[in-house]
Amino acid sequence: MLLIDMALPTPLDRSSVSDPRVQRVLTAMDGILVDHDEAAVKRDFHPDFVQHNPWAKDGAAHVKEMCAFEFGVHVQRYVVQGDLVAYHGIYTAPNPLGDQPLHCVDV
């Protein structure tokens, strides 16, 4: 069973986000997972992007590869402090780990 269309809690209202740091992060993630736009990756990610997800590779080149992924992200809430932004949500299914959504926090 694919869970892309399952009922989810109402996500974060992007129009309510006024902090430019958060807007930049959400725009960058949309570039990968919504727009699948490699040009957006070049715009939003440093070439030497440091990846801390242990299963993903360093560098913007790998982020570009993620543009081919078919799953999306459902952001529910965020925090922002100094030069750090984090969001909590799920990666919708299917995704690289199967047909169940992935509970995630990304910093």
Binding site: M1, L3, M6, A7, L8, P9, S16, V17, S18, D19, V22, V50, Q51, H52, N53, P54, W55, A56, K57, D58, H74, Q76, R77, Y78, V79, V80, Q81, L84, V85, A86, H88, G89, I90, L97, G98, Q100, P101, L102, H103, C104, V105, V107
Partner: protein
Amino acid sequence: MPIPADAVESFLSGGGDGGADAAPTVVARNAARVRAFLEKAGEDVLAGDVTWHRPAGGSVQALLDWRSSREIEIRRTIASGDSVLAQLDTHRQDRRQVTYAWFRPHDDRITDVWMVTQDFVGESEAATRHPHF
């Protein structure tokens, strides 16, 4: 962490607004309350009706049990609005995990908790040279 469809709402439910208008003193106090819980397992920082957003639910006692059953190193906190995120390096018996614990304090008491946990992956196994931290 893969989650079944009927559990998604449970994991995502509740409020928490990192963009809420909050005085810096309140944001700092919220972060301090979260640290107090993580460092001391103090019952007094949890609201009596605290909600742990997961299918199994969770009470004050469940959170105290979670806290007391592992060693926790706070690697960073990020706080804004009414929310605080803590990135934790935890050890329980021989199992090392990384937990992202998301808290919503209100009036000096933690009212909501969300957690995402993954097993620690060392540099020799990871695809990146900087796993987790």
